[in-house]
């Protein structure tokens, strides 16, 4: 089975989730998402930074320059208070949606 592509809007939520576990730089976020997903997700490089820039513009994440593991300047992102709220909302919406879709897909003919 090949890697799955993310549906619209899901990447933002995953980025928020990845950062919520601790502040990370861009490459770190990418690695963490792939690590958690067990390398099963395909994240397009082009859309990844666009998503980060948008999240920062919306005031959900905040970047700060720090030092990386190998002593280089890197921009570390952390979640803002608004970002935490946003993550909570998105996650709730997402699991509602997943439940509904799953229940529709599991419906058998005799149940209708």
């Amino acid at each position: 089975m090949g890697r799955l592509e993310l549906p619209q809007g899901a990447l933002e939520m995953l980025i928020l989730k990845a950062i919520s576990l601790g502040s990370l730089h861009g490459y770190g976020i990418l690695l963490r998402i792939q690590q958690i997903s067990g390398e099963r997700l395909e994240i397009l490089q082009g859309s990844f930074y666009t998503a980060i820039y948008r999240l920062e513009r919306n005031g959900w994440i905040e970047g700060e320059w720090g030092e990386s593991e190998n002593n280089r300047r890197a921009k570390y992102y952390r979640l803002t208070a608004a970002g935490k709220r946003q993550l909570k909302e998105e996650a709730a919406k997402w699991s509602d949606m997943a439940d509904i879709i799953a229940s529709i897909l599991q419906t058998r003919a005799e149940e209708i």
């Binding site: 730089h25 861009g26 490459y27 990418l30 490089q45 082009g46 930074y49 666009t50 820039y53 948008r54 920062e56 513009r57 919306n58 005031g59 959900w60 320059w65 990386s68 190998n70 280089r72 300047r73 890197a74 921009k75 608004a82």
Partner: protein
């Protein structure tokens, strides 16, 4: 998502553009490097890892742009780029830029000037607080509701009026002509006293020092002996010197028993504070100590009370006032409370001509916009190569339109900036040419609303003139254009739209020219009018004495005679007359009725009635046509003798000699007596005998027909006030001081109000000033329109000629004559000029009737319109000639070599 966070992000990206880009790139570089390090860790060679990372992620240098797109700044960046490109383009073509910006500045300037004039004289005139709720009481005869008048009240009446429950507050104002006594002699001044509530009522801050304040007191309170100056007086008398505070002023009212008063200047009011009709200085009411004061009342209506409700409420009150003193009220009347501005709008004929002025400005604006469109189309056609190239590398039509519109907005906003500067001077012109046509509070100023108007107008104009060319150039024919060797290509379609624009311009210009022609002709006719009297070297002096002072007829006559004799004795005075009315007379055309004995009763027979002495006709040089004028002796006795003018004879006795007949003036005599006139012992009844006929002299206002007039001797009915007419040798103004001094010596109780030469009175005449103003305004508009249209025409022809240079070269090389080329260029434009003029002629004829209604007294001759059309055609052809002759002088060898 928080709007604040977005704005902060944008702000940072815009103000720290290079830093944010650098940071984005650095972050991305870190990402690439980290990826490459990971790849190396998995066994790839470092060089291969770097290469793979770049292939996978992309170039860090474009990341800055991606960032800006992601945060939504793309449109901003592009527009900003268009703006810089537009400005660079204008700087590259300074000639084009100058002509477009100037034509727009001219038309926007005129429109803004019109707006700031209306803003200053109509929309936002008064600097006084709640001026929309402030009302003046007026009285009018119900039969003639438009013929109203202000009235004054006494102190006691003012207190009654003030107590009306309709009013929040009532301000009282009393005017006094005074003599200022200064080190260098006496001068006349206008003084206004205000009640103690003036400051809280008007809420206008003084310019320097302090204004009047409640503690300065009302009638009966201790007088602080202070004065606050009006702005104009401060500038004129003290050259705007701020150290004027603390100076003393000494004034005398000339009212018997009143001594001269010395007051200290404590403040100066700002320019727009002119309450009481531009007085020189203000004093508190507590300094007015004499009992009889005439007060004008300004009332501020309570919130929610309409002027109509309040009018009804005060009407009975005012009728009680009228019962106390009949002299100043009409016989039957109603009271109306009207907003301050009504006093101006009701009586101003200038306000009536505003629609046509706005129409003119709108036409001028259209001409200016058309000019810009023409220039943009012409320039755009030379840029088709550029547009095709842009479209070829991926610009969408929308993108091209946006770029062209941004360029237009740059032009129009620069035009508006210049236009506002221009409008500041233009808008002041009407106030300088005819200040008496506008409320005295009118001061032209550039404020937020004027600026906003101009910028909005410029934006609208920019879109208006820019959209059409932009739409045309937004879809270039890429392959055709790019394949052409020459970058200049003439398109037939482009020429057609240019011609259409030029035609419109010419048509509108002709309409403006004909209106201006009519206005100027009207004014010229007014200046050449046959007056029927000779105003040169004649001075009129206005004044009078308190009626209470001189109680009997004999005393008044003696006093008048003394004044006349004293002035006549002044060296240089040729002759002196005393008269009730002065030419050119007032435009009021309601006269008292009379009867001619022996004629059938004629209810509608009315005539002016002037009281003059025997010298009147010789001073004004009005010739006698038939009969005689009463002798000095007859006049002195006040015998019932009359002289009528020819207009009277034409109207009331055309077939029968009027000489020796009797006129019955019952109503005139009754009215005069009720107004305080004293009758001569010789004039017992109301019958008066006509002994002479004089030629017509203007007596119903300038530019209006001569009214029937009955002249009777001034001593038959003597009033307290009297005006003197003096014919002098040479310029009358040199005698003013002597006159005043002499009058002062001759009659101590004579109140000298003012003196003007009759020439001055003519030039201050409202009709004269209004016609001069409209003539100047339309003259300016028409000149601007003509200049714009000619510039537009010239540019189009020059541009078309430049495009066809090659063709002309070939034609000449093949043997065409130079005159043939000249004709070729002219021919295509003569058609446009003639059809534009024809449309203009039709439009002019259509607006002719309307403009006659708006511009009173302007002649509307067809000859004038035809002359304007013919001259427009001639100057238009002249404008084409210069570029056409350049075409004719094309050197075929040069053109063909250049190819």
């Amino acid at each position: 998502m928080s709007a604040f966070a977005t704005l902060r992000c944008w702000w940072k990206a815009i103000t720290h553009r290079s830093r944010t880009t650098r940071e984005v790139q650095e972050e991305f570089q870190f990402h690439v490097d980290a990826y490459a390090t990971d790849l190396t860790a998995h066994g790839m060679s470092p060089a291969e890892a770097q290469r793979q990372a770049r292939i996978g992620l992309g170039q860090p240098d474009v990341q800055g742009e991606k960032y800006r797109t992601a945060i939504g700044l793309r449109a901003w960046d592009e527009t900003w780029g268009d703006l810089r490109y537009g400005i660079r383009g204008l700087l590259r073509n300074p000639g084009f830029a100058a002509v477009t910006i100037l034509s727009l500045a001219l038309s926007i300037g005129m429109a803004t000037a019109m707006f700031s004039l209306v803003h200053a004289v109509l929309l936002d005139v008064y600097p006084y607080a709640d001026s929309d709720r402030t009302v003046n009481p007026i009285v009018f005869d119900p039969a003639h509701p438009n013929d109203w008048d202000w009235f004054v009240v006494t102190r006691a009446q003012f207190q009654t009026y003030r107590s009306s429950p309709m009013f929040e507050d009532v301000l009282g104002q009393a005017d006094f002509p005074v003599q200022l006594q200064q080190d260098d002699g006496e001068s006349q001044a206008q003084m206004v006293a205000l009640t103690a509530n003036a400051a809280p009522f008007l809420k206008v801050k003084p310019l320097i020092g302090r204004g009047l304040q409640p503690s300065d007191g009302d009638y009966g309170d201790p007088a602080p002996n202070i004065a606050v100056l009006g702005y104009k007086f401060w500038i004129k008398q003290f050259a705007g010197d701020a150290s004027v505070l603390g100076h003393k002023l000494t004034y005398a009212t000339g009212i018997p028993g009143q001594k001269a008063q010395t007051v200290t200047i404590v403040g100066v009011m700002p320019e727009r504070f002119t309450l009481g009709g531009l007085p020189d200085f203000y004093i508190p009411m507590s300094q007015v100590t004499f009992p009889n004061v005439h007060i004008i009342a300004f009332a501020k209506l309570k919130h929610g009370v309409t002027p109509e409700q309040a009018s009804v409420a005060v009407d009975s009150m005012v009728h009680q006032f009228a019962a106390q003193d009949k002299r100043i009220y009409p016989q039957s009347f109603q009271t109306r409370l009207q907003p301050l501005i009504k006093g101006f709008t009701d009586r101003s004929k200038f306000v009536r001509s505003l629609p046509i002025l706005f129409l003119a400005v709108a036409m001028l604006l259209l001409i200016g916009c058309a000019n810009c469109s023409i220039l943009l189309l012409a320039r755009g056609t030379t840029r088709t190569h550029e547009f095709a190239l842009r479209a070829a590398i991926g610009a969408s039509p929308f993108r091209l339109i946006r770029q062209l519109l941004v360029e237009c907005l740059v032009i129009s906003l620069l035009g508006s900036l210049l236009g506002v500067a221009l409008s500041y001077f233009l808008a002041r012109l009407p106030l300088q040419l005819a200040n008496n046509l506008f409320p005295s509070e009118s001061v032209v100023r550039v404020d937020v609303s004027v600026l906003a108007f101009s910028v909005l107008l410029a934006t609208a104009a920019g879109v208006l003139f820019g959209l059409w060319p932009a739409l045309r150039f937004s879809r270039p024919q890429i392959s055709q254009t790019l394949q052409k060797s020459s970058r200049r290509t003439a398109s037939r379609r482009g020429q057609a739209s240019l011609r259409r624009l030029i035609g419109c311009q010419i048509a509108l210009t002709l309409v403006l020219l004909t209106i201006a022609g009519a206005a100027v002709a009207g004014f010229i006719r007014l200046t050449r009018i046959h007056l029927g009297y000779n105003p040169t070297n004649v001075t009129a002096m206005f004044g009078g004495y308190m009626q209470e002072e001189v109680k009997t007829w004999a005393e008044r006559v003696a006093k008048n005679q003394r004044m006349r004799d004293a002035v006549a004795a002044i060296p240089g005075v040729v002759s002196v007359s005393m008269a009730s009315d002065l030419p050119p007379g007032s435009t009021d055309d309601r006269f008292p009725p009379f009867e001619i004995a022996g004629d059938p009763a004629n209810q509608t027979a009315t005539a002016r009635q002037s009281r003059v002495d025997a010298n009147f006709f010789s001073v004004l040089q009005i010739p006698l046509v038939a009969g005689r004028i009463w002798t000095e002796e007859e006049g002195h006795l006040g015998l019932p003798l009359a002289v009528v003018n020819q207009a009277f004879v034409r109207k009331y006795s055309p077939n029968r000699s009027i000489l020796g007949r009797t006129i019955r003036l019952t109503e005139i005599v009754q009215q005069a007596v009720s107004y305080g006139a004293l009758r001569s012992p010789a004039f017992a009844g109301a019958d008066i005998q006509v002994i002479g006929v004089t030629a017509d002299a203007v007596n119903g206002g300038l530019g209006r027909p001569v009214q029937p007039d009955i002249y009777i001797s001034i001593n038959t009915l003597v009033f307290g006030e009297a005006s003197l007419l003096l014919r002098t040798q040479g310029d009358p103004s040199q005698y003013t001081a002597t006159f005043r001094h002499t009058l002062h010596e001759a009659g101590a109780s004579y109140i000298f109000v003012n003196s003007y030469s009759l020439d001055q009175i003519l030039s201050r005449d409202e009709t004269w000033r209004r016609e001069r103003l409209t003539a100047s305004l339309f003259g300016i508009f028409a000149a601007a329109a003509l200049a714009l249209a000619l510039v537009g025409l010239y540019s189009v022809v020059a541009y078309l000629v430049a495009q066809r240079t090659q063709e002309f070269g070939i034609r000449l090389a093949l043997g065409a004559t130079r005159s043939h080329i000249l004709w070729l260029v002219l021919r295509s434009n003569i058609g446009v000029i003639v059809s534009g003029t024809t449309i203009g002629l039709i439009l002019s004829l259509l607006v002719r009737r309307e403009s006659q209604r708006w511009l009173e007294g302007t002649p509307q001759s067809t000859a004038l319109i035809l002359t304007a059309a013919a001259s427009l055609i001639v100057v238009s052809i002249i404008a084409c000639l210069s570029p056409a002759s350049r075409a004719a002088l094309t050197q075929p060898s040069e053109v063909l070599h250049a190819e």
